[in-house]
């Protein structure tokens, strides 16, 4: 009896365990198969196969990861200061963050886009948008540094950016928060949104050779929220597609008031037509104010110029530039397949995905199959442009990328999953969970004509229980899926900086061999360069002191400076004389209320430092450079304002009096 009782209780326990396990939601244990680790494993000392350029969200920067390992390779400072690298702190880099509002040390970086030629990634530049103070940046992929930033007038909330046309003719920027135009009176009642607020789209031209950006034209559109965009390609080259929400034109409690209409729009823009109108002089010159900042890799110096004019085309007057395509429930993602035929709109509150056909859309325009106008823009009949709908794919579709084999992959924020579906017959083929609440996704080349679809990366908004807890703020994350087979397979989680939004990935071969290793000292045109220790000096002009300094493993020249007086503004112009890869030197001085300098080989960077009070101020190299790195330091003596201590500077000669005498 006792034996039976025991057996029964054991059986009951086993049953309970079985039930418990089967009720448990799919977790990492069940979602990850045994070979996942080997698929994401890159042995020590080996390179990754792909670069992954991930937007840094509210960090304002862009991060670069290697795939499939998920190793962080570099954080590229773009829109936020970075004291670690001296970005925004050195005199040479400060102008990069200049705007019409003055120096802006932070922004919110959402999307990244690699330059393309013939619709394929060419590995030259990567563009980045600033959402808060509207700007677009260009990063040079030979240096992995921000080389140009252009501000956007008439804009606010630059979200549908920095997407490009298939030969990088243009980078676009659209206004998420419509505002009164810059030359109109902005001091109006907020509830006059419908009358006074406008949404501007900017077309920024990109120099074919040098990549230089210029606002070619802007299109004035109705005041709505432009959200995301993608260019047409192949057959739809010449068109750009922007999703928009809040076509209700609400100005308060958008959560409710901008979700009233059953359908908002995807706006199709015929930019080739816009170019014709521009040429024909149909644009209006508008007086505005915006900054254009360029970093020169020869002088290692940024310059900022304030520009005062843009040319604006009006979508209401020029009837055949813009067309509205109805799209269910506040569309977010707006993605064009590799052939250029299909435009996928993702209504973030919808439970279906509409897919539009470029060919049908063209026919609808030719047939004038319109459903009236929206604020003077023709509205194409939904069915007339529709290829079809993916039924019941999941909840809350956001973004779609493509594998070039006829399949699309869409993220679902609400149901936390990625769904693979076939474009031709709109059938769902596979689905995998994400942990948790996925936003953007990325397939290498997944928004180009030629995807390289080995991996898919999902960028999640919430990680909850996925990592060791770190207080109230938890890591944001990316998840890597192998999509080379029929089924998607989760192989890796890795945390990211800031909040990851859109990202791009490309085969490493396209970029890695073009990396600059050092800057040639002979080509350095910085006005404060010291080409050799023999040219170092300290020059006083009033209370401004210029220190022309060099560094090499492992000393500064000069490393003894006396005769600085309290109240002096000291500028350390430090030239790194090294001519080899991977030997930056750092420069830091006690009490500096800026940051440090991190000087690449052959480069000159300047740190401004105020001699606040008399005393002794050591400076040193912060980047471990050799066995004698700890010796790489010096002293700056500050005397009272009226002092007669002469200005002297030296390296290796300023010996104690007794020693000097003994030597003689």
């Amino acid at each position: 009896m006792k034996y039976l009782k025991q057996l029964l209780s054991i059986l009951l326990l086993m049953l309970a365990v079985t039930i418990f396990n089967s009720c448990k939601p799919k977790n990492a244990g069940s979602a990850v198969s045994a070979d996942a680790a080997s698929k994401a494993y890159v042995p020590p000392g080996k390179y990754d196969e792909f670069y992954n350029f991930v937007s840094g969200g509210f960090s304002g920067q862009m991060s670069v990861y290697g795939l499939p390992s998920g190793r962080l390779l570099r954080v590229i400072p773009i829109f936020s200061v970075d004291p670690e690298k001296g970005y925004g702190y050195s005199e040479e880099t400060k102008p990069m963050l200049n705007t019409s509002h003055g120096f802006v040390p932070w922004d919110d970086q959402h999307h990244t886009e690699l330059s393309q030629t013939n619709g394929e990634i060419d590995g030259r530049w990567i563009f980045a948008n600033a959402n808060n103070t509207p700007r677009v940046a260009r990063v040079d992929l030979t240096t992995f540094r921000t080389t140009e930033i252009i501000e956007l007038p008439n804009s606010a909330g630059n979200h549908s950016s920095p997407f490009i046309t298939e030969n990088t003719e243009y980078v676009v920027a659209g206004t998420r928060f419509s505002v009164p135009p810059d030359d109109a009176n902005g001091d109006v009642a907020i509830n006059t949104y419908k009358q006074n607020f406008k949404g501007y789209l900017s077309f920024i031209s990109v120099g074919k050779e040098d990549g230089k950006m210029d606002i070619a034209f802007q299109i004035k559109c109705p005041g709505v929220n432009f959200d995301l965009s993608h260019a047409g390609k192949g057959k739809s080259h010449g068109w750009f597609f922007f999703s928009c929400y809040n076509t209700e034109q609400a100005n308060t409690l958008l959560e409710v008031n901008a979700s009233q209409r059953d359908k908002d729009f995807i706006m199709a823009v015929n930019w080739k037509k816009a170019e014709e109108y521009l040429k024909a002089g149909k644009g209006r010159k508008q007086t505005v104010k915006y900054a254009h900042n360029v970093y020169d890799e020869k002088s290692h110096t940024a310059t900022s110029e304030i520009r005062t004019e843009v040319t604006v085309l009006d979508s209401k007057e020029l009837k055949d530039i813009c067309y509205m395509i109805p799209c269910p429930k506040s569309p977010h993602g707006c993605d064009v397949d590799p052939t250029g035929e299909y435009i996928v709109g993702s209504g973030k509150l919808a439970a279906l995905i509409p897919v539009f056909s470029f060919t049908k859309m063209q026919k609808a325009i030719a047939d004038k199959a319109y459903d009236g106008e929206y604020e003077g823009i023709p509205v194409i009949k939904y069915e007339a442009a529709l290829h079809g709908e993916v039924k019941k794919p999941g909840l809350g579709p956001l973004h779609t990328e493509f594998d070039g084999k006829g399949n699309a992959y869409t993220t679902f924020f609400v149901s936390s999953e990625v769904v693979k579906w076939s474009i031709a017959d709109l059938k769902v083929l596979d689905r995998v969970p994400t942990y948790y609440s996925v936003g953007h996704l990325c397939i290498p080349g997944g928004d180009s004509k030629k995807p390289n679809a080995k991996y898919l990366i999902a960028y999640n908004k919430i990680t909850k229980d996925r990592y060791l807890p770190t207080g109230p703020e938890l890591a944001q994350s990316a998840q890597l899926y192998d999509i080379s087979g029929e089924k998607m397979q989760l192989i890796l989680d890795f945390p990211t900086i800031g909040e990851p939004h859109y990202a791009q990935a490309v085969a490493a071969d396209l970029i890695r061999n073009k990396s600059v290793k050092f800057f040639k000292i002979e080509e350095n045109t910085n006005p404060f360069v010291s080409k050799g220790e023999g040219t170092t000096k300290v020059v006083r002009a009033g209370n401004k002191v210029d220190v022309y300094m060099t560094c090499i493993r492992s000393h500064f020249s000069p490393d003894n400076i006396e005769g600085i007086k309290a109240g002096d503004e000291v500028y350390f112009h430090v030239t790194n004389l090294e001519q080899d890869w991977d030997v930056p030197h750092g420069f830091a001085i006690k009490g500096a209320n800026t940051g440090e300098l991190l000087i690449m080989p052959g480069e000159t960077q300047t740190l401004k430092w105020i001699a606040e009070k008399p005393g002794m101020f050591p400076f040193y190299c912060t980047d471990f450079c050799s066995a004698l790195h700890q010796e790489m330091s010096g002293y700056l003596r500050v005397s009272p304002a009226g002092s007669t201590v002469p200005l002297t500077f030296s390296t290796g000669t300023n010996m104690p009096k007794a020693d000097s005498a003994a030597k003689k």
């Binding site: 040639k520 000292i521 050799g532 090499i552 001519q579 080899d580 450079c625 050799s626 066995a627």
Partner: protein
């Protein structure tokens, strides 16, 4: 002192040491697949090609010539003053931070007499193929024990290396 001692030991056990060194070198390469130089400079190898051998295992290392692209340099007896002038400019930008023109050591050894201590090929190879030679050349290694800073590769062109050698000759009194 240390280097002298090392040199004398090396002399005594020359051929044995040489063989041993070769074996050790090859062994190290097989084991590490061309791994780090072990000091403050990071070894630059091609991570895509782990099987590629560098010359590190080359048993035919010539300590007179060193290793690099220069195997025979013709040096006329008379000084080329223009070339020496160019060399002096390069010295000012890329070398003078660490080397004096006298015999006195600064970060690296003083230059006086350098052209009598080394062949022109050795010097020109050393200034253009610095990392590799510091790793395997006995004289360079002995110098590293004294200076403790690996000489930076200053990426001199062939012409710059030749001009620099001419300037060294001028500094050593060649007319």
């Amino acid at each position: 002192m240390l280097s002298n001692l090392a040199a004398s030991i090396k002399k005594q056990k020359h051929s044995f040491m040489k063989k041993l060194a070769v074996i050790l070198f090859l062994g190290a390469f097989i084991a590490s697949c061309g791994g780090g130089a072990g000091s403050d400079t990071k070894a630059i190898t091609d991570p895509y090609d782990a099987t590629k051998k560098t010359d590190g295992g080359n048993p035919s290392y010539d300590p007179k010539r060193g290793e690099g692209k220069f195997s025979k340099v013709n040096i006329p007896a008379a000084l080329d003053a223009t070339m020496a002038g160019n060399g002096e400019k390069t010295f000012g930008v890329k070398c003078s931070s660490c080397h004096k023109l006298s015999a006195e050591k600064l970060v690296g050894p003083g230059w006086l007499g350098v052209t009598s201590r080394h062949t022109p090929e050795w010097i020109m190879n050393f200034v253009t193929n610095t990392d590799a030679m510091i790793t395997k050349d006995p004289k360079a290694q002995a110098q590293l024990e004294i200076c403790l800073v690996r000489m930076p590769n200053q990426n001199l062109s062939d012409d710059e290396a030749r001009s620099l050698y001419e300037f060294m000759r001028k500094n050593d009194g060649v007319k």
